[in-house]
Subunit: 141 residues, 4 copies
């Protein structure tokens, strides 16, 4: 299964479809069924003490699986998250970017499942882990 | 188990501790082990087409359980989310507030578990459901 | 949406399709998008001290949503569990049946979502809560 | 962090504490924060068509994290599962053992988090993934 979209194409698609998050996320590395993404942590992601908020961690996990799925199926469609399970395990390092290591475990006809480990940039112990299911709409032909 | 905080005290605490979210959430109703909260949907919560974003839905579920726990244990502590499982079931109504109906199923010495149903304001079918676990820090004496 | 199967038809279907679990489960009450089921607790469900095992609690949650879905769509198909999130909140009462209160929150064309609260028979505080997603196969025509 | 229990000690402990599952599980490999376990699939784990049942897959994930935790903390305690999220992704191969690859992502003072990938023996695509939280009781001193 070859990639149907490049890093640049994914970022263009994201910026066009979700202008609200422009500049928040970056793709560090892209492979078959895999992606590494970055949350460019800014003021709006922080809680007192400089820690990154839970919703921001969720957003990073969610966008990572979304981009990994799109890279494999192309920009055709309206993949939507149907389920997310997330464990918050450690406090993120204050005011530091987050890195998500995402892997697709399944890419079926109607459902995709991805898992994500999230780290503070440079850290070794994961801040959070998440697994997400995306529903993939039927291809229009 | 009586409530240890009123609606007003909870909102004051939230505004003081999490100034970043001031104005986003409101408490509609508060009871023992129960709360109903509102997400005042604004531009920053929206995706194209006016739909409320996944991270905003997550944030509402998270804050609802947090406030329900605080109402029962008081403002002593640093309760943190350790786990969230969320199902996104329907598209929220465009540009409409979200209402969360939250119930605590367990309030233990170290862990609390809450469940949340989320609706578009006025809607009957839930947009999402979530269950969250909070870790409750030991009481300092 | 009327029920497509009665209690008796569901139990017959279950016995025919899953002979391994014959006698383990009973339907206490059946309604639209709702079911109450019983786990007839026996030796094989127990752990030392008489507590009901985690896998038995999981099995009860799983079968409850399965039966609730079948009651609504009929015995046509091969609905399969795709996701389960379960919180174990209290120790079940020793050697006591478990009761599951199950509600379908969504019954879509391809996915159904159900939530379940599980009690020791006669108990008021839930032993566990679970949410499950079932994938519904396309209707053969 | 060195291992506090060997493979043999873990199996002895499991047999003594959970005689109901004697013979069902085997430890293939044990390391720091890691374990590989096997479900010796027998009649009682099967569904029609020879597929391994959901509760059996759950049981394997659960016991894997349990053993991984015990190996690190020793047989002192009453670790209990508080949460499990599981995705069923593919049908297991008929009448074939299951292999669980388990890793502890967190081993805290009160909570441990493990993730598990489950394969049909010899298969390359995971049948299921699970993440579990265990509550670790305070050490008695």
């Amino acid at each position: 299964m070859a990639l149907k979209m490049s890093k640049g194409e994914l970022m263009e698609f994201l910026d066009a479809e979700f202008p609200q998050v422009t500049g928040e996320f970056a793709i560090e590395e892209l492979g078959e069924m895999r992606i590494r993404t970055r949350l460019n942590v800014g003021e709006r992601h922080l809680r007192p003490g400089g820690t990154v908020s839970g919703p921001s961690i969720f957003a990073l996990a969610d966008v990572s699986v979304y981009l990994a799925v799109l890279a494999m199926i192309g920009p055709q469609g309206l993949a939507v998250t149907t389920n997310c399970s997330i464990d918050f395990m450690r406090k993120p390092v204050a005011a530091t970017d987050l890195i998500a290591e995402c892997r697709l475990l399944k890419l079926g006809r109607v459902l995709a499942v991805g898992e994500v480990l999230i780290f503070s940039d440079g850290g070794e112990a994961p801040v959070a882990r998440a697994s997400l299911t995306y529903s993939i709409p039927p291809v229009r032909t």
